[in-house]
Symmetry: D2
Subunit: 383 residues, 4 copies
């Protein structure tokens, strides 16, 4: 397969030292104490990056497994679960809840804005009988960011556990699991962490553990059951064979982040994202998000006479470059520029913006100036 | 982590060209048609190796996910399922059946012998009202091989679908899915295929698909739901982000197998396995299996005054080499020598046998001759 | 060391499959017949790319070793050698000639133009008593290209052997060793071949071999003595340990070239080079070369109030990108944009031109338009 | 090419982290200050491993280039040079001396013993008018070790510069350049350092530099001229393009050595070598060396009715493993077992000895016991 650079909001570029770590020979992973200790250390390093001393687990699967595992492990038949919805993934949680016998209560908001904290508070005053609540940190299809630092503590005030999907948020945006009192925080390796696909991440608070331990019914899954990891260190064995190469690669990616410094990584994302948003607007296009744009991805509205899908196809065919549109109702409306993790660097964003500029011109759009140059100019103004 | 060669029955050594394939940059995997086409081609190549034109899926997870997905996708509440049991994994299927609401009927046999086909026939004459049956091709903890070519057709005679766990069998032993009429055949990448851990393999027959399509209740899982892949080519999207590196590495591993020739690979396994079994016995130790030994792994009984666990520890500490014991009741009784896939080569087996010989001597066992040399002599006799 | 993309005229980017070939385990290289056969095959593949069935040798060293080896092996004390000079490397040959006891006669021409074939013809009519003549295919410091197809046959008419330095020419520009009757053609792996540094390349005609065999004095060097390779296949041994990894990597790079097709590679270089030259001029800068610009590198005159060195430094510090200036008297005058081998791709050239544009603006230069966009526009016009 | 493990005395196995370093993208090497600084640091690290603060240079070539460069740079026409000869490489120095116009005086000794220091002293008392002397640390074709700690200081007493070929010695045996007052110490990357082939190593004392600076005639070579590196840091440029990948790989190999600890590395070589020598003799074969065996390689006399070449061939064909015989008059007499650098590990030596044992048996030799086991037993006795 010919390599085609991708500027989708994940999977992101994987840095050379991370890719080369994948090529190393690996030790037996099933019963070898050294590996089990190593796995534990990488989990803790992951926790450090997430801002938590809670137990962190790496599941052998894609990020969505983390979401299912959280719901599978917490939900018992009949449990009421509050699903906060201002985006496609946000709403999607209701399916996992239902699948495991829970009763989702979906609270929906404007998809072009962050979840309004005050409206949630008003709702909770009237009804707060929920075992747990779910929401998404960054809902990628629309590039919206929700305010974890307010939502999660608010829910905890009412004794409601929180499950947060930060797959496309963590590392690009602060998540601070402990400070924000997130009970189960879900992540994936292939977004802003810029490690290979293949590990789903969950952190589990003591409250969440207590809730699982107090279940009256067994968890109706093995692969999505977080309790199969219980006591793995003492037992000296993991519940299944771990992808050791991916664990080693993840560690290198985490070291890259820690070596750069998490503050520096957040700043890099913020600078790039602001310049992208400014340049796109200076150029004459509109953003989908009205308030609360994520620094990991930007959703740009493509005029209907051009169409996001047509632009995407044209760019693939003419410039051998992959850009994502959105999902569902937004598929032909929104073009998404991913700028998270290893993709949040000036040269890469310059490349993709130059291509988008040329692609749009090819299809008849008249931008105001050169999009790449507008981006560089916007970056320069920030300093 | 210091590298420690492992002769467990998986994960096996991954050949250099497969490991280096992991280090390549990968394309976007979510919506890119080229990748989806590529994924499909690797699935078909996997099918070729398994001897089937059935649909083959690669799930982003460890081999056990294949087993769970088969049971999750087939089982509806109340379904009767026949669980053929002559080993630890064989018996374990009952848990998956129960988890998804089925009623497992466990038919147990001597753990030191292959499943006796005639006894199964006798049983079926009396009771054959089962939606599907499960059994294991090679049950690794005890190194037993079951005769797929007889069991699966027999069950099909009675209209019973078959789910076969060939995780530790396929590639090392013929599986011939189509010839043997296996409805769902499960595999993993890290055993005799000698690709990295991280993909679970299932082939799905038309009968199995029909059965899933005729369900009256939804499948109670997303990650273990085989139907989420339905129509992925037409839709132009996979249900979640695939570990593209692992898919590429798997393809290289499959090419290695096809280039060597499947017949040659089976012969290599058979020769090595026979020489291992002969040399171990000539040396003065006994095999666990009385009839039906698998060519992928050998289970050796370690005298109780030495103990398999003590020998394993001694060898790890003194010779920096990992050998597996067994599980559960056999943990301290059986030492397992894995000789599957990339580990089924003379030099590697010679290494591990020489170390086992020295390890046993260190602990006071008096073998008859030099175990490594006995192995080489046995190999020579075979030719 | 932090990675810094380089757009110097070599070493060029090395494609991923070539770099990964370097990571493979290698066989013993000294006496192993399989390796010696392999080395020979790679030499022949190199010859295919150079358009010759002459013997080709890969010497374990940098490209300059090829030049020295040619002169060391041909020159005997007192030999008259014609040195055609229209560039820094062209003139430099006189030092090698002198070092090995020869008497160089330097014929110098305008450095901004290709060597004028008619003037050489006029000179030869009067004086053609030379053992051999030297000239450079592409003299990188000034980006000038000489017409091998005329010069070499002309010299052969007079019975003069030709030594051609095509280190920075071959693969990017046709060299056609046999058609052009080049006696010793010199190359390096790290230019348009885009393999790792570490092998010097020479092809040796029968006439050149005869000349070496007829020497009256021994060659005054071992490492630069081409005769130490005589009969290496029959002897079953090479004169010293070859860098096996680099030989394997070179083979992959040659396969990349042959798979793309040599004609397609030349066209790619031509298209990119023309667009670079046009866009630089449209932007308001001048080229150094008046006639005979090479398609592998472009020499741009930087206004003295800015200075090539200052621009180079500014770009390194501000944009983390390496661009070469020139050598000697041109060091602060010429900026060189390398676009050979793996660097001759639109996206890479777009990157470097965009950075140069911004760098020049930062230092007060007012370009006419956006240099990157001018390049894309020029490319588009070509089609 | 099929991979064939080699137990020749170099090139040795290259550890995985060193090989993977080769696969990294590299920076421009010619004029980039960061690379030049990096090159300098790796040279210094190389010096640390050699026990010297003298300038160390890495030349882009095979080890033999170091020897030629030392002689080319020191020798002026008519210079008398003392060549100490107790092995094939030892004697070979005379050719380099002559090639550059010097007058070699060859002092030859028994090839089965270390150079007798007292005899050298006696000779020097009578004749010590030499510009420099040459000798070999470990002469690999016969596996002999010379006592650098005595020879070099003795020569310096008489004001004679010393050129020591430690290509096959350093890292496996202490070289201590400064303590032993070696003026030019020569090495290669592919022996006990276990880095890839491709860099020749020289350390140059101030006395040697003075001698070069005081030359009356120019050095008759470019590639073998050590003075072309003069002032490379100040100039900000190296004399030719360095193989950056190999420099990076060398650094990783040096880090491996320093991390293990040089004392530990010497001990590892000593233990392995002693056990090899003991086991070979216990088995019933004789060593070539009577006194002064090197710990990096062992020369075993193969009975003439078998023949070293026949044994070598048989082992290659039957066991796919490469073992070296010797050179010249010893080619069919001596089998050499390399156990230096990454090859000086128990499992690897066990492998090769087991194969040699079986190979000898196949050809009719009756060894006393199992050679691999004798080696393990000998190792055990050492502790």
């Amino acid at each position: 397969m010919r390599f085609k650079p991708s500027y989708a909001p994940g999977p992101t570029d994987v840095r050379e030292n991370v890719r080369l770590a994948l090529a190393k020979k690996t030790n037996n992973t099933d019963f070898d104490k050294e590996f089990i200790q190593y796995y534990h250390e990488v989990c803790q390093k992951m926790g450090k990056v997430m801002g938590t001393t809670n137990e962190v687990l790496l599941l052998a699967g894609e990020g969505i497994l983390a979401l299912e595992a959280a719901c599978a492990s917490l939900t018992e038949p009949g449990d009421r679960v509050l699903v906060l919805d201002n985006g496609i993934y946000g709403e999607g949680f209701k399916d996992f809840v239902r699948m495991y016998g829970g009763e989702p209560v979906v609270l929906s908001f404007d998809y072009q804005k962050s979840i309004p904290v005050e409206e949630v508070r008003d709702f909770l005053e009237k009804d707060h009988d929920f075992k747990y609540a779910t929401f998404v940190h960054c809902d990628t299809p629309t590039a919206i960011l929700n305010d974890v630092s307010q939502l999660s503590p608010l829910l905890k005030e009412y004794g409601i556990l929180t499950v947060v999907d930060s797959v496309a948020g963590m590392v690009g945006e602060p998540i601070d699991v402990d400070k924000n009192q997130i009970d189960i925080c879900c992540g994936g390796t292939q977004k802003a962490i810029s490690a290979p696909v293949g590990l789903a991440i969950v952190s589990i608070s003591d409250d969440a553990k207590k809730s699982m331990n107090n279940r009256k019914t067994p968890i109706a899954s093995y692969y999505a059951n977080l309790q199969i990891f219980n006591g793995y260190i003492e037992k000296g064995t993991l519940p299944y064979t771990m992808p050791a190469s991916t664990v080693e690669a993840l560690e290198v990616a985490l070291d890259n982040i820690l070596n750069e410094g998490q503050k520096a990584v957040y700043d890099r994302h913020a600078k790039i994202a602001q310049a992208v948003r400014k340049s796109v607007q200076d150029y004459g296009l509109s953003l989908f998000v009205e308030s609360g744009a994520s620094n990991t991805v930007t959703a740009v509205i493509i005029p209907s006479e051009i169409g996001a899908l047509r632009l995407q196809n044209h760019i693939q065919e003419t410039y051998n470059l992959y850009i994502a549109t959105s999902l569902a109702q937004y598929e032909d409306v929104i073009l998404r520029i991913g700028h998270m993790g290893e993709n949040a660097f000036t040269d890469k964003v310059l490349s993709v913006l130059t291509v988008i500029d040329n692609g749009l011109r090819d299809l008849g759009f008249e931008g105001k100036g050169n999009l790449g140059q507008l981006f560089l100019d916007a970056l320069r103004e920030e300093n």
